[in-house]
Symmetry: C2
Amino acid sequence: MEGVVDHLAFERNKTQFDVEEMKIIWAGSRHALEVSDKMARLVASDPAFRKDDRPRLGRKELFKNTLKKTVYAWKRIIELRLSEEEASKLRSFVDQPAFTDLHWGMFIPAIKGQGTEEQQQKWLPLAQKMQIIGCYAQTELGHGSNVQGLETTATFDPKTDEFVIHSPTLTSSKWWPGGLGKVSTHAIVYARLITDGQDHGVHGFIVQLRSLDDHLPLPGITVGDIGMKFGNGAYNSMDNGVLRFDHVRIPRNQMLMRVSQVTREGKYAQSSVPRQLVYGTMVYVRQTIVSDASLAMSRAVCIATRYSAVRRQFGSKQGSLETQVIDYKTQQARLFPLLASAYAFRFVGEWLKWLYMDVMKRLQANDFSTLPEAHACTAGLKSLTTSATADGIEECRKLCGGHGYLCSSGLPELFAVYIPTCTYEGDNIVLLLQVARHLIKSISQLRSGKKPVGTTSYIGRVEQLMLYRSDVQKGITAHKKPTRYNTKWYKKC
Amino acid sequence: MEGVVDHLAFERNKTQFDVEEMKIIWAGSRHALEVSDKMARLVASDPAFRKDDRPRLGRKELFKNTLKKTVYAWKRIIELRLSEEEASKLRSFVDQPAFTDLHWGMFIPAIKGQGTEEQQQKWLPLAQKMQIIGCYAQTELGHGSNVQGLETTATFDPKTDEFVIHSPTLTSSKWWPGGLGKVSTHAIVYARLITDGQDHGVHGFIVQLRSLDDHLPLPGITVGDIGMKFGNGAYNSMDNGVLRFDHVRIPRNQMLMRVSQVTREGKYAQSSVPRQLVYGTMVYVRQTIVSDASLAMSRAVCIATRYSAVRRQFGSKQGSLETQVIDYKTQQARLFPLLASAYAFRFVGEWLKWLYMDVMKRLQANDFSTLPEAHACTAGLKSLTTSATADGIEECRKLCGGHGYLCSSGLPELFAVYIPTCTYEGDNIVLLLQVARHLIKSISQLRSGKKPVGTTSYIGRVEQLMLYRSDVQKGITAHKKPTRYNTKWYKKC
């Protein structure tokens, strides 16, 4: 458009730091930046990966579109001989939830983490060549946060050396697993292990769901898609599913036996592998969620910041241009803390990565001492960063006024696809209660002389701390609406 | 399901108030309750009004579905000889945004409010029989909150006795009007009135957009749909549109001339009708928004409360039932304030209705004294109730855990269809600034002896008030996360 100033160029020219350096810091390294840039260009330049039509597709078209993209991405990864790092980046730029997320992100890791050597040798090659496609069937219609309350049973039958997988109630139906509704041939199914009438709690089992010949459900299996989810596009490209078992039999060697085993005779036993390794995996998954929070927040903030620089409203004097909305304090007070949070989450994500590696090193040396604190850190940061990001995306949408309500702003789909993060891998409210419990426990253990570690080590200085009183009672919330994540921070204590 | 307790019946039996009486209070009268019940049953029992397939339809199917429902509803209203009250209730239970909302809610009222007797006699019968369909074209691509900044021009041409409607820039394109994209034949277009080179500010004009023969855009008109909006179903049933004019000519008598006129000679003049009537309309519209906030909040709270009574998680002892989540304090602390808000908004909505009638009575007697305070009240309450409701719906969704993310919970579409309320009819942040300005002005006028009226009359007791100090510094936010609408409330002052 002639005569129109490019306001973004003007704003960018005012930058007071080295943008190229900042890109490297953000990416983590020059190499990471290069991989990211290369994959971003690959996806953006290929019309097969177009996203703009996604919001207006009906469910069926959207699902077909996802299958097509997934197959095409797999083809390109092989043709271009992409490294695993590159392939993973490519998938993240394709940015359309698909059954492959669960296949690569949950099914394969579960076999790696909980399967024996033998089980890994049998199942991993099949999965890695995608000759079988797997999902992760834990949550049930009536059971989410309380995993110990799962009702599906896996009863050992010593006569045939098999487990009988069964859904005894309506509430025991598996509900939510991504990739289950239409695509997966196999699932890791979590069920109560019962041997000789005794309940040993929840364990994982590899269960085939559909025929490898005609893809029809196997006898005793009822499976389907649970329907539409929040938003345009978003998770509707995923076939989240429902699954019921009517006395489905699987061989004994399909129980994941790295940590616990059932013998031919039906005897239940623990292996020498420490159970705590499972918590290590949890720390890993939540650490990636914190990193992803930073990515989602930065996308939303980027859109809202550019809009705020271009959009003008009020404040004009007789025909001159109106004021850029980014120059209004009401806009700045809402936008800039979110911009800062995107960076903060990026850096705390890096720290969590270090924490995970440190914990794993210790676990391998049978040192479990830092695990509770690491668990509390990741639980707390998962809750804090995902809640702040979900709220932040919606705030960015509002900062774009009416335009944020259009899918073409990118914000509605970003919100809809992001918000489940507040619920999955630990409901944010439940996680905060766990953090609180850890803190209270740390304090109550002080009497017995147990020193708190890591981020909680400051509690060890409790007697000194009690001498201080906060002097920030006045004014701390005066300039800005309190939000979930800043009300409890004090400058000193 | 056998053996499963009906937990809702159990909870309902514990009620300590007269439910039938409460229904009447909520509806406003026994008559209103009966009309509401009758229309609700009519819509719920007619498969033509089914809603469950809405989220999974592609845009085109959804739009066709809306046209079909709209035509069918119109047919039923005539067949059943429904009163205007019944027809309006029926439309609200059909609950699918459509071009008719703007036709009945904005186009016709604008002609009634701003048109002369002669204009009303010509246009209203056409509109009321739906021989023409109208929309309301105010907002432009570059101009929302600042209505005075609109760029579309209406230049009087004395040679032909016509106005020339023109879009001089890209940012002057009309953007957002519902019903514009595909359906409307006419629009009320807001444009800068220019006579003899002089700009008289923004005025309304009736402009025909499409042929009544073949529905094609008339010469000089470029019109289209602006694309997908937030969420499944939701506002995607509406054809929000874009509109550009290339020197489109309309007869002089299509300027809405109740308040201002342009004579045959091109002279601009004000009529004796007070301009303040426009503010009366604004009070009316915002008053209905507050009532609607209560309805939306109550739907969300109803879903979340029922879910909380049925859902059980944790707390079981050896095979007994788990605890109903409604019995957890963390659930109660989030849910119950929203339940209370739904009632509070219902009652403050009734009060605003009274305020509107009081203001109108005064305006007709040329008494403008209470208008600024009434304007501030409705602006503030519109902002407060819609922000709280938008946040409240999302909170209710989270209170339903993973299940809230499914469209079958009803919450995702309720959120998506509700949130534009925070932006339209006055952006909530801008409105709060207007309230603040009114309060500051009221205080600054105290010196000149001007007494604040209505809800601000307490400011007149400023000297007494200054003697008090709040004693609630401690503990007020301890039991509950502060939200936008409760941080500034103090029990005493």
